[in-house]
């Protein structure tokens, strides 16, 4: 299993431990829990939810242990030493010379994501205990949620692409079940279908990519590393070995990236994400913070060498990943402006943040991107759960900010505080966690020479600040509206009727099971950035130390034995000539390289200040606009006297003021901000989503056509026609059987005569 362990010991024995060696338990526990919930969940006192929570807690503990021991392991290595991932694998099945393994691949990246996933999942499950209390499919919900986390965990620690694919698809399935949780409503089931189907479209890329990589890499990996071509480690090493055909690896990388696009909701396959908000809020939270959508980013991070070589990352002029990332940032941020549904705002925000991660990965900022996964998980989970908390306790299950929210800061202090913290983190305000990750990305993008993309990143930051401010304002400031104001006249959004008792109480703070996760998450949203606080110097860059793989592994040339037989590989252009080796300058002549050597930007306060300024500008502008726009507009609804009270001016003036408002709204806002956002939204709904729908409609129509015309008429028609034809031959032959003896005789004699004539002529 650990092929290189023997040899690395020569350098320095790396610490390992039980948690690292047995990390495979982390996804297995939820999987077992899932089965148990399904089988006996309904009979348990808490309807199976306890099993889910317990399994997630266990996974969390194991993940934390693994993380701890990984840190120890890293610390036990020397500065430049390659930190061997803890790989264990077992043969799963064999077929035709193909060895499909199953196993774990624990390295920095997996540890981080494992921890995040386990952590968020645990909190979400705890949160759901309260949020879904009384739901009719409570047990099913927890089962699906648990399996969902299990799938993600399995994917994260997969040591080969097959297992990776398995986790990936299991998540897809669970997302279908979870998004469609309230499937009685047509919209929900449609959304679930759409989500699954869109993601599945992207999966074609994954299938193709895996296949291509396998066949391209298998010989090399078998020969040199004794690993199968599915092995992530093998593929990584192969990608950097200089061996691969550039076309093959490029096509494979593009194929894989298509899968990422689908899963991570990148442009243009992002339309399923907002619809997926139909699911229960905890699901949205889990889906958008740490699992599912992150899987796409994780795929790129995991097989980074493949993308690095295949898409020529760090090459001049940008690459596909960067373009997609950048477009996604802007487009989705713009879309977030025009949403009234708080969850949709957050959804687009997620898409946008994923765009940042993609941008970072595409630009060679691997670590910042991974770090952004880490921090984003906390604050985005917090935001979603906050939104859930609002709908649960204040807005009568509505997520409409304009109709049912407003002024909630007083009634929901905890929710409000955690929301603000997370928002600041999302906007990237120092010293909240988002700053350390997002700013790093933007910084590194610029540092690696992509100034245009850096500007896009900054614009994105501005927009992020702006729309989050708008959302915050609408939700927590201003006057309460609709349900938050106690009105319950409108139709409830989520018709799980058991919650109706809330309406009588009016808006209030949520219970501890909801607020506790919020608080924990907000603390992390605040503080998790410090794990890689570049501004504070090298020693604060712990994440870099722990997570970033070291570029090269030194191989002792005397090593022999093991299934790999020969590990002596000539790394091309290693340190020779002027060309920069992907493994960095310190690559020895002989060795296997598992990760590209990446440069990190030097932190500069000046740059940070610039971006901070942009963020603040965005917030302020948005705040003012929101104030002007929404509070005033809202006042019009409430009534005359109130307006007088607030403004203390005359009726005519107020009327004029309204003119101004209208002017403002119609002329300034609508002519400047709206057209762009609206156009984007229009484009989104009509063109992108429209394309999606029309593709599906077309396919349906086409299939109908094929069925009717090709299958039934041509193919089946041929069959039926042959029967008809046979019968018509019979009909044609029937007249010969006229019943008249003379005719029979004529036939007999003429046949004899003709046969005789022919054969006589032939035979003479």
């Amino acid at each position: 299993m650990n092929l290189l362990a023997a040899e690395t010991e020569v350098l320095a024995p790396l610490a390992s431990g039980w948690f690292l060696e047995n990390a495979w338990l982390i996804p297995v526990i939820p999987a077992i829990a899932f089965a148990l919930i399904i089988l006996i969940g309904k009979r348990l006192p808490m309807k199976g939810s306890e099993l889910g929570v317990a399994s997630m807690l266990a996974s969390l503990v194991l993940s934390a242990g693994a993380a701890y021991q990984w840190i120890q392991r890293v610390n036990s290595a020397t500065e430049e030493q390659f930190v061997e991932p803890v790989i264990r694998s077992w043969s799963w099945w064999r077929s035709g010379g193909f060895d499909f393994g199953i196993g774990q691949h624990i390295d920095g990246l997996s540890v981080v994501v494992l921890f995040v996933v386990a952590f968020i999942s645990t909190l979400v499950q705890i949160y759901s205990l309260e949020y879904l209390r009384g739901d009719r499919r409570y047990t099913h919900f927890f089962a699906a949620l648990t399996l969902f986390s299990g799938g993600m965990l399995a994917m994260v620690l997969a040591d080969n692409m097959i297992l990776f694919l398995l986790g990936w698809e299991v998540m897809g399935l669970c997302s279908f079940m979870l998004i469609g949780h309230w499937w009685e409503e047509d919209a929900n089931s449609r959304a679930a279908l759409k989500a699954f189907f869109t993601v599945r479209t992207g999966d074609v890329g994954l299938l193709v990519g895996i296949s291509m990589l396998y066949f391209a890499a298998n010989d090399w990996t078998q020969e040199n590393l004794g690993l199968s071509g599915f092995s992530i480690r093998g593929i990584s090493a192969w990608a950097l070995s200089g061996e691969p055909n550039s076309t093959v690896i490029m096509v494979a990388a593009i194929a894989l990236f298509i899968a990422s696009i689908g899963k991570s909701g990148q442009f243009p396959l992002h339309t399923w994400l907002p619809d997926a908000m139909a699911g229960p809020t905890p699901v949205s939270s889990l889906l958008h913070s740490s699992t599912m959508v992150v899987a796409g980013v994780f795929l790129v991070a995991r097989l980074y060498p493949v993308f690095f070589v295949g898409l020529d990352i760090l090459g001049s002029g940008g690459n596909l990943i960067m373009f997609i990332g950048a477009i996604t940032i802007v487009i989705s941020a713009a879309l977030a402006f025009v949403q009234n549904d708080i969850k949709r705002v957050l959804a687009y925000s997620t898409v946008s943040q994923l765009g940042y991660m993609m941008l970072g990965l595409g630009a060679g900022a691997w670590l910042p991107a991974v770090f952004h996964i880490f921090t984003h998980a906390f604050f985005k989970a917090c935001l979603f759960l906050g939104a859930g908390s609002i709908s649960h306790s204040a807005s009568h299950h509505s997520f409409d900010m304009k109709r049912d929210m407003g002024g909630l800061r007083k009634v929901m202090p905890i929710t409000f505080t955690t929301w603000i913290i997370s928002t600041l983190a999302l906007c990237g305000v120092f010293p909240f966690s988002g700053f350390f990750s997002k700013d790093e990305i933007i910084d590194n993008v610029g540092n690696n020479g992509y100034n245009t993309f850096m500007i896009v990143g900054l614009v994105g930051a501005f927009m992020t600040a702006a729309y989050m401010t708008r959302a915050t304002y609408l939700t927590f400031f201003g006057e309460p509206r609709g349900a938050s104001a106690g009105h319950s006249s409108h139709e409830s959004h989520d018709d799980h009727a058991s919650h109706d008792d809330h309406s009588s109480h009016g808006p209030h703070e949520s219970g501890l099971l909801i607020t506790a996760p919020l608080m924990i998450l907000s603390v992390l949203a605040l503080g998790s950035g410090l794990l890689n606080a570049t501004p504070f110097g090298e020693s604060w860059e712990r994440m870099k130390l722990w997570v970033e793989p070291r570029a090269v592994e030194v191989v002792d040339s005397t090593y022999s034995g093991g299934p790999g037989e020969s590990l002596i590989v000539n790394v091309p252009s290693a340190g020779e000539g002027s060309s920069k080796s992907v493994c960095g300058t310190s690559t020895p002549e002989i060795g296997v390289c598992y990760a590209p050597k990446l440069e990190h930007a030097k932190f500069k306060w000046s740059k940070a200040m610039l971006s901070m300024a942009i963020v603040f500008l965005g917030m302020v502008v948005s705040w003012i606009l929101s104030m002007l726009l929404f509070t005033k507009r809202d006042a019009r609804l409430v009534g005359l006297t109130q307006r007088v009270k607030i403004l203390g001016v005359g009726h005519r003036f107020l009327v004029n003021k309204y003119y101004l408002d209208d002017l403002y709204e119609k002329v300034i806002v609508r002519s400047v901000a709206y057209p762009i956002s609206s156009a984007a939204y229009w484009f989104n709904q009509n063109v992108l989503d429209g394309i999606l729908h029309s593709i599906s409609n077309l396919t349906r129509k086409f299939s109908g056509w094929v069925y009717k015309n090709i299958d039934q008429r041509v193919v089946d028609g041929t069959v039926n026609n042959s029967a008809t034809f046979t019968k018509s031959v019979g009909t044609a032959a029937q007249p010969t059987q006229s019943g008249k003896v003379s005719q029979y005789g004529a036939l007999l004699f003429s046949a004899a005569a003709v046969a005789a004539l022919v054969l006589v002529i032939i035979n003479t």
Binding site: K740, S742, Q743, A746, F749, S750, A752, A753, V754, A756, L757, V760, I761, T764
Partner: protein, 164 residues
């Protein structure tokens, strides 16, 4: 030989003309009588072919017995003694080409195979004894069989033809 040849040609022409009349005449009884001419002609040809026993049998069986049967048949089915218009059917037109094709096929084959081969000049008349030696020698079994055939024909024909 010349005399025989002359005989042959006279009889042959007579036979062909009579045969044509058999198949074209509108009168059943005439047809039967024309058939007699053909059969008698055939008997003549048999003599030319040195088959006197067969020729005699031909006269006895055909002209004597079969013709009587035909005439009885004609009577019993109350055919008109005289011309009838509907003795032929709609396949008449088919008959000519079929017969012609057949004739062409036969003619081709015969011409190509026998060309101008001649019959042996000094053929001895086959005596009745020789024929009977053959019949009661190697061809005995078919002879026995024939007796059953005739018996069956008689029994069957009676059953079928009698009124009941």
């Amino acid at each position: 030989m010349i005399a025989q040849n002359i005989g042959f040609w006279i009889i042959a022409v007579l036979m062909v003309v009579s045969a044509l009349r058999v198949v074209t005449t509108n009168n059943v009884v005439h047809a039967a009588l024309w058939l007699v001419v053909v059969l008698a002609g055939a008997a003549g040809q048999y003599i030319l072919l040195a088959a006197e026993f067969v020729a005699i049998t031909q006269v006895l069986v055909y002209i004597g017995a079969v013709m009587v049967l035909f005439l009885f048949g004609t009577m019993l089915t109350r055919a008109r003694i005289g011309a009838e218009s509907d003795l032929n059917n709609s396949y008449k037109k088919l008959g000519i080409p079929v017969a012609l094709v057949m004739l062409v096929a036969m003619g081709l084959a015969l011409t190509r195979s026998f060309g101008d081969e001649k019959l042996p000049e000094s053929a001895k008349v086959v005596s009745t004894q020789e024929v009977s030696d053959q019949i009661f020698g190697p061809y005995l079994l078919p002879f026995w069989a024939l007796s059953f055939v005739l018996l069956a024909a008689v029994v069957g024909a009676i059953v079928l033809a009698r009124k009941d």
